[in-house]
Each structure stands twice: as structure tokens, then as C-alpha cells.
Amino acid sequence: MESLSAPPPIRRLDPQDPPPAREVGPGATTNGNGGAAPARGGFTAAKRRVAAPRFSIRRMEVDEVSIHYGAKAAVKGVSLPIRQGEVLALIGPSGCGKTTLLRSLNRLTELTAAARLSGSIRLDDVDIRLIEPTLLRRRVTMVFQQPNPFPMSVFDNIAYVLREQGSRRTKKKALAPRVHSALQRAGLFEEVKDNLSHPALKLSGGQQQRLCIARALAAEPEVLLLDEPCSALDPQSTAVIEDLIVKLRDDVAVVIVTHNLQQAYRIADHVAFMYLGDLVEYNSATRLFNAPAEERTREYVSGAFG
């Protein structure tokens, strides 16, 4: 567990609850940057530092999903919505099934021979089992815990995603605008624009992870899955990526797994707390951290276990 001491402020505080799921057009703009540092020691004293979502559109629907590895249940009957315009954080102690649930959202669990899924997951009201996996995985892309750029240049990492499967026919020149825009969306372009042929594995860890985010964004997904994307990074890179995630939420539905409760509190609009495969509580971030409905949630967020 990371300590709950105050991280650097990211954006202007807005103590308001995220609105419940309802479809709203773009409304109030986000506020400018402020600076109030949160008090130490707990969430009640700290204030959320992310503006309320301007709108939220339900994109994915997890419906009574259970996942078994052989006889072992890793996820038990979880139901929750995933909305564009919001960031959803999955929290819970190690081994509670966060990664398993996340990977099931783009059918990566199917790569594990022993994994069995029941229940249904829908993307825009279509069961994902009916969507061809490679198409689904371009609509629902994923960023992993360990930064894992491919061993090629920065440019080629993005170009690989843009090109048809294993083809190399599309000319670099034709791809350049889309490569640049993906890097821009991931906030990496300014740092790498002078040398796009730099080997990606020679970037810093934080840059590598943003390159992975750029790669995931290059497919123009509707949902972005992040599995502990900052766990291998220093606080500064973490802050940059958190900022980026919040910026992305209007364009893609973001689901992030994190062990850092402060991080969940900082950037998430809704939080799902899982424990031993069960979804214990799904609530808005402010409520889940400040006034949890469940006793186990209260114990977890106050650092009693996990």
C-alpha cells in the first residue's frame, strides 16, 4: 500500500458528485487550475481534484459476469456500467479479480486456456462474443502494468497499430499525420517529435507508458482499459499520466485498475471495489471514499486491509 500522504495537486478541486448515469450533452467547461493541497490522513479531509464529468454515455455493460480459472472463481457475478465521459476505477486487494475482469472486456481472457466466462458483456448493446476478437480489441484497447513498447522506433510502434495486420505496405508518409495525432493525444509528441526514429525501449519509463497509451489510442478505441498503468512509474510521470487520463475521458470510456487509492480518488468518477471476486460496492468516487455504503469498503479505504 502506498502511504496516503498528499500527492501534488493535479487540477482544480470540485467537490461536486459526478452525476448519475444519464445522457447529457457537453455542459459546463472544466475549471482552471487551482492549488489547494488536500489535508493529510484521509479522504474526508481531502477534496476531489477532478471536475465533474460534463456528460456520460453508457458504452459497455457488464452483466452478471463470472470468470473461472478451472475450478477457481476469480470473478463472481459482477455487474456494472462503463461510461464515456467518465473514468471508472477498479480497486481491491491483490488477487480479487480486477485484472481478470478488465481483460475480459476485450476478450483477452480467452488467451488463457483455462479461463471460462459466464454472463454477458455488451458494447453498445452488442454482446462482445458476437464481435470478431480483432475488431473488438481495436474498439476496446488495453494498456498494461509494465511499459511494453515494441522493440522498434517510436514511429513504428504507432504505425504498427495503424497498419493492416502484418502488412507494411502503407507508406510512412501517409501514416505520419495519424501517428503524430496519437502521440499528441498521449501527451508525448512534444518530447519525441524531433526524433521519431528513436528506439522506443530507450525512452524513460514514463515516456514508454505514454507511448503505450498512444499506441492504444491509435486504434481509435471507444473504451480504454488501463491495468495499473502507473505502478512502475515515479510520481511525476504518474501525475502526467493521471492528467492525461482525465483529459481522455470525454472521447473514450476509461477503465483503470489501481492499487493507489489516492489515485482512484483523484481521477475516477465512479469506483468499483472488489473483494475476493465479488463486486462489493460500485459508487461515485466521492461517496465510495467519503461515505461508503458497505462496511468492507469502509475498512478497505481506511487502510484496514489490503
Binding site: N106, Q146, N148, F150, M152, Q165
Partner: protein, 334 residues
């Protein structure tokens, strides 16, 4: 064994004088170790030095002999029958023969080996078939090449494969560059498979998944991510395999006809006339020219062995280059 227990390992500089404020050179010394550990260390050093010495001795000796006896015209004149050193020519046919079997052998072994390794590591289903494949490769690796050669004579003397060698009134000779290269590729195959597998297996799983997670198929991932990443290990396997091919003698003796010159098949189109015919390689020439061989010209044997050695050293340097390039590209933390 010469280095006494107290001798510090050679090559380690004496404790450097303190630079600036921070004292340097504070490394763990073996002085605090138990006697047994120190003996062990001394033994390791002694063995290491011994093997270095043996390797250096071989290379230096061959180098000296080679430089002394190698004449450039030996590389361009074929062997001939004659009564004196000057009349018997050089070993150009053997040199070209080595290049031919190496090229043909690796051209068969490399794609097959890579394909087998990719299948084993990335697909490997059904598991029973994968296990059988694995065992087969291990078995091939364990078969002495003379046995492979014998087996080759059976296969390539069959009438169905007569087009791969010379045949005379329905009797298939069964010895040719095709036959030798095919069996030599089996010698190289296990090395290519093992090395490529190792390269693929060292790629973390999440790297593959990162490719699948942007909608790439397994085939695209293998082609564009996994094989390029494993390139240094593939190169290592290829070079080890080449080394075994150009170093093999048994298969050449049995399956290449062990002539002193090319013996092309008359009437066939180039290059098939040569490839279907018998021939020789450097190893075969060294054998024949050694004091036990028919030619008994030890000086030319040294010259040919020297050329062989240069080829192997060249291959190693190439492998080194590939590895160094790959290191420059960086790697993942696991």
C-alpha cells in the same frame, strides 16, 4: 594447479586510490571466505585459464601454420593428381563445396527450424503433438552424424529420389550435394530450433498481449513483433548450425562421394549438373590431406584447416554484431 589460494584473481586492479571524497574499491574480497570457498574459486580460475590457454594455443598454432602454408593460388586451383606439391594444385573445389553445402543446408534448416520453434512456442496444440515434436528434435540432435549419413544413403538411393543424384542404368548413386545438404540440414536443425525457441520464450507474455490488445492476429504478432525481437537468437542458432555443417565430415564422406573434385552429371542443366554430382568440402580435404589420408600433404591440410577456422571465426563475429545491435535497441523489464 598454479595459482595459490592467496593469489588475487588476475585482471582485478589493485584497490584504486580514493577519488574525491568517496572511497572506491570497496569490493567484497575473498579474504573473508572459508577455505573451501577459496579453493573452489581458485579451481574455477584455474580451469578458466586452462581452457583459455587451450583455445588460444589451437588458434595461434593453426594461424601460424596457416599463414606459413596457405598460398592464395590454392584457393583458386582445384586439386589435381601429380607427383609433387606443385603438381597437385590447391583446394578450390573443396572451398566452393563447403560454401555450397553450407548455403543449401542452412537454407533448408533455417526456415524449417524457425517454423518449428514458432509452432512450439506460440501454438503448441495439441500438447501431445508438441511433446512428440520436441522429443523428435532432441532425438535428431542426439544422433551421430555418421548414422544420419547412413540413413541418407538409404533414402537417396531410392528410385523416386533418383533425380537428386547420378543414376546409371536404373541404379541410383545416392550421393550428391542435394543428399549431403539435406542430411546436414538435420544436423543444424536442432540448433536453430533451440536457439529460436529460447529467443521467443524470453519475450514477456505481456508484450504479445499488447499486440493482441490492439487487434493484431497471432500471425501478425509473430511476423512483426516476435521474430524481429528474437532475431539475435535466430542468428545465433543459424551460426551454430552453419558451424556444425561446415565442420561435419561423416556426412560428406558418405553422402557427397568424397571425390577430390566436382563430378558434375553430364547432360544436366547448370547448376543441377554440379548439385546432382559428387564433390568435396574443406573438412574432407583436410582429412584426405592429413598424414592418414590418401593425399598425405599435411601442409595443404593446415592451409585448408586455416581457411575453415577463418570461416568459423567470421561467423562468430557476425553473431556478435547482431547481438550488439539488438542490445542497442533495449529490452523490457520483466
Amino acid at each position: 594447479m598454479e595459482p595459490s589460494v592467496a593469489t588475487p584473481p588476475p585482471g582485478r586492479p589493485p584497490a584504486a586510490p580514493p577519488r574525491g571524497k568517496a572511497p572506491t574499491g570497496a569490493v567484497e574480497g575473498s579474504a573473508t571466505w572459508s577455505v573451501l570457498d577459496r579453493l573452489g574459486l581458485a579451481f574455477c580460475w584455474a580451469l578458466g585459464l586452462l581452457f583459455c590457454a587451450i583455445a588460444v594455443a589451437i588458434v595461434v598454432y593453426l594461424f601460424l601454420q596457416g599463414v606459413k602454408f596457405l598460398k592464395l593460388d590454392q584457393l583458386t586451383t582445384p586439386a589435381a593428381t601429380g607427383f609433387s606439391e606443385t603438381q597437385t594444385g590447391g583446394f578450390s573445389d573443396a572451398l566452393v563445396g563447403t560454401l555450397i553445402v553450407a548455403t543449401m543446408g542452412i537454407a533448408l534448416a533455417l526456415p524449417t527450424g524457425i517454423a518449428i520453434a514458432v509452432w512450439l512456442v506460440e501454438y503448441g496444440r495439441p500438447a501431445a503433438l508438441a511433446r512428440v515434436t520436441e522429443l523428435t528434435i532432441e532425438a535428431i540432435a542426439g544422433i551421430p552424424s555418421i548414422v544420419l549419413a547412413l540413413f541418407g544413403t538409404v533414402i537417396f538411393s531410392s528410385t523416386a529420389l533418383g533425380f537428386l543424384s547420378r543414376s546409371n542404368e536404373g541404379v541410383v548413386f545416392g550421393r550428391s550435394f542435394f543428399a549431403a545438404a539435406a542430411m546436414l540440414s538435420l544436423v543444424a536443425l536442432p540448433l536453430v530450433v533451440a536457439s529460436t525457441r529460447q529467443g521467443l520464450e524470453s519475450i514477456p507474455r505481456h508484450v504479445r498481449e499488447a499486440s493482441y490488445a490492439v487487434g493484431k492476429t497471432k500471425a501478425a504478432t509473430v511476423r512483426r513483433i516476435l521474430l524481429p525481437t528474437a532475431r539475435p537468437q535466430v542468428a545465433t542458432g543459424m551460426i551454430l548450425g552453419l558451424g556444425r555443417i561446415i565442420g561435419d565430415t561423416a556426412i560428406i564422406l558418405v553422402l557427397l562421394g568424397a571425390t577430390q573434385n566436382f563430378a558434375p552429371v553430364e547432360g544436366a542443366v547448370f547448376p543441377f549438373d554440379y548439385l546432382r554430382g559428387a564433390g568435396t568440402t574443406l573438412t574432407n580435404f583436410v582429412y584426405e590431406a592429413s598424414p592418414t589420408g590418401n593425399l598425405n600433404q599435411p601442409q595443404k591440410a593446415y592451409a585448408a584447416a586455416f581457411v575453415l577456422l577463418l570461416m568459423v571465426l567470421g561467423l562468430n563475429a557476425a553473431a556478435d554484431l547482431v547481438h550488439r545491435r539488438a542490445r542497442k535497441a533495449g529490452t523490457w523489464s520483466h
